[in-house]
């Protein structure tokens, strides 16, 4: 038995014979041609065939993985018929009398180099697209078939790395799992594997040797474990895990469209955390009930200067209209601490977690805040918006922020710009101060959302970025849970709702606790929605709540 550790990027257990992906080798023979016209037509024929193939692949990708995946092949299509690309090939054939294969290969290198030389990592990665397109045209010119799986039985597919077009054209019924030497969690193979629910482990390096081909292998896409020739015990253990996962997967699928209701009829809202408008798709696929936290930082992080009101308005409007009548809570700027941006010109601090960040920046530099608030209110006309302020410690901060909101509304009214009158205003509870005075804060706002990552860090005086603190950083600590209890009671006494938008919300060990406390909403990453719904539906608060509340109040706990 040999065990290899890689990076698990798509959960699930796959078991079967190992099979190495055989890439059709395209050897380029270079020669000169007399009849350049015929050679040009030979290229045009291959180009047309490539464009047709890419069109078919786009449709296949659309069916298997959605519009985003299809767009990739449509882009490849446009690259294949790009005027400059075509012209460069034409020149090489006409002027240097090169054969079509050599002309395509040279042009591929030339365009790939152009992308590689750009100062933007996204554009640099497009070099792989040019090469992928060129390889396809060369394959057609050479008459070589594209690589594939020449096996009758389903296999675990191993490769150095797979190009997106290669991944999509594979016959999925033959694939039990992917193992690649290179790649990352955001590589195309990983994304497609996750979309299609096929286990995948990437980054195993050269540990996977060619002589393993054909031997029995188990891949665990959750842990990143790859086991060659597993012994009986390992196989039994992983097979059990596989069955358990398959059962859970089937169960989760059936939960789409179902309510988040406990056995005794208590409901809780399950919303999603997102970081950009593109994430809305994942919210819809996973049946999220709304967006409980839309981090607005991406607008600031992706720009070299402050994003304008219009830029922000467009992004907010897109999310609000895509979510239709579902609630979308947008958190105002949360820069500072671990998220620094050059053009803000923030002075260097000894202790940024306790420094100039989030709402503190907004109240100190109201011109930045005002731009964002105007964009938010303008967007409010297109959906159901909630605005949430991060990093609150005092009542005056909330009043000042609300006053700015009021000013912005008055301005818009004066300018005749439409906005919604029903925008909810809420705050993050992420400092012990806010939790302790939550009775007073509750009188100022429409909702609370607890940011448990920072609440834990500040309550326990434990730096969340210091990995050495391990067991000291304990989000299950009774101090944190008692604060959540206090916040919930104060919210409900004042008739407002309370949610959790930190990582703790998705912690299934605490689902019963949150239900016992009476939390109204949990906002989690889109992929956590269905497992969480399942946990809620398994709970009977008649059994659990009294026990949990008693334990939380216990003066002498067992440990």
């Amino acid at each position: 038995m040999i065990t290899i550790q890689g990076k698990g990027v798509s959960a699930g257990v796959g078991i079967g014979p190992l099979y190495f992906y055989h890439r059709a080798k395209t050897t380029i023979t270079r020669y000169t041609v007399e009849d350049t016209d015929a050679e040009w037509h030979r290229f045009k024929g291959a180009q047309t065939a490539a464009i047709e193939q890419l069109g078919a692949l786009a449709e296949k990708a659309r069916a298997e993985a959605g519009d985003e995946a299809a767009m990739l092949f449509e882009t490849h299509q446009m690259m294949a018929e790009d005027l400059d690309y075509e012209e460069a090939i034409e020149n090489l054939i006409n002027e240097q009398h090169l054969n079509a294969e050599a002309a395509v290969a040279d042009t591929s290198v030339q365009f790939a180099e152009m992308f590689e030389a750009m100062d933007d990592s996204y554009m640099q990665a497009r070099a792989a697209d040019v090469k992928d397109v060129s390889r396809r045209i060369l394959g057609i010119l050479n008459g070589t078939v594209q690589g594939g799986i020449a096996s009758e039985v389903p296999v675990l597919l191993a490769a150095d790395d797979l190009a997106p077009s290669e991944t999509v054209q594979l016959d999925k019924s033959k694939i039990l799992g992917f193992i690649t030497a290179g790649g990352s969690g955001s590589s195309h193979t990983a994304i497609l594997a996750r979309t299609m629910g096929i286990p995948a482990v990437v980054g195993v390096g050269d540990a996977l040797k060619p002589e393993y081909e054909g031997r029995q292998v188990i891949v665990d896409g959750a842990t990143g474990n790859v086991v060659i020739d597993p012994d009986d015990m390992t196989r039994d253990r992983l097979m059990k895990k596989r069955e358990e996962q398959l059962r859970l997967q089937r169960l989760l699928e059936t939960l789409k469209g179902q309510p988040n209701v406990t056995k005794d009829g208590k409901t809780i809202r399950i919303y999603c955390n997102i970081g950009s408008p593109e994430d809305v798709h994942a919210v819809q696929v996973n049946d999220g009930g709304g967006i409980g936290l839309f981090r607005s930082e991406f607008l600031y992080l992706n720009c070299e200067d402050f994003p304008t009101e219009d830029q922000q308005f467009e992004a907010y409007k897109q999310v609000l209209s895509d979510m239709e009548d579902k609630e979308v809570i947008i958190r105002t700027l949360d820069i500072g601490a671990d998220k620094q941006i050059g053009y803000f010109d923030l002075p260097k601090e000894e202790n940024p977690a306790m420094g100039m960040r989030a709402l503190r920046i907004c109240l100190t530099r109201p011109e930045i805040f005002r731009t964002q608030l105007r964009a938010l209110y303008r967007a409010s006309a297109f959906g159901k918006l909630g605005i949430m302020f991060p990093m609150v410690t005092s009542v005056w901060e909330v009043r000042e922020a609300k006053r700015l909101c009021e000013e912005v509304r008055r301005e818009l009214k004066g300018e005749g710009i439409p906005y919604s009158e029903d925008v909810q205003i809420g705050i993050m509870i992420e400092t012990p101060a806010a939790a302790i005075i939550s009775d007073r804060l509750a009188k100022e706002v429409d909702f609370f959302s607890c940011g448990t990552n920072d609440l834990t860090q500040y309550t326990l005086a434990c730096d969340r970025q210091n990995n050495d603190l391990g067991r000291f950083y304990d989000p299950h600590h009774p101090a944190v849970l008692r604060l959540l209890q206090m916040v919930t009671e104060n919210a409900h006494k004042n008739g407002i709702w309370v949610g959790i938008c930190g990582e703790l919300g998705a912690d299934l060990e605490l689902t019963e606790t949150f239900l016992a406390l009476g939390i109204d909403e949990l906002s989690v990453s889109p992929r956590a929605v269905l497992p969480l719904r399942n946990a809620v539906r398994m709970t009977d608060t008649r059994d659990s709540s009294a026990r949990i509340l008693a334990a939380l109040a216990d003066e002498y706990p067992a440990h």
Binding site: M71, M78, L83, D84, M118, V130, F298, E304, T308, D310
Partner: protein
């Protein structure tokens, strides 16, 4: 010739996807469309050249439209920029 100036709002700039959509849009018209940023300018039908310009969020580009249907193409393209870029 019709011209308009536009500041890119799309957070990722003129990346592959918006560039692809733009080429598709320009193909609908007979007019020649060029996009200029600083002293560089490209034919808007050329996907890779367009991507190669490396236009980022916040950059200002000048779009020129010249041809028999420029009166309809220019406002349509301006609307396209506002919607996608």
């Amino acid at each position: 010739m019709k011209q308009f100036v536009y500041t890119i709002k799309e957070a990722v700039g003129i990346h592959a996807r918006p560039a692809g959509l733009l080429v598709k849009e320009v193909k609908k018209y007979q007019s020649a469309v060029t996009i200029a940023k600083g002293d560089k300018s490209v034919n808007a039908l050329k996907l890779m050249a367009l991507m190669g310009m490396g236009v980022k969020c916040g950059d200002t580009v000048t779009v020129s439209v010249e041809g028999p249907d420029e009166d309809t193409a220019a406002p349509a393209l301006e609307a396209f920029f506002q919607a996608h870029l």
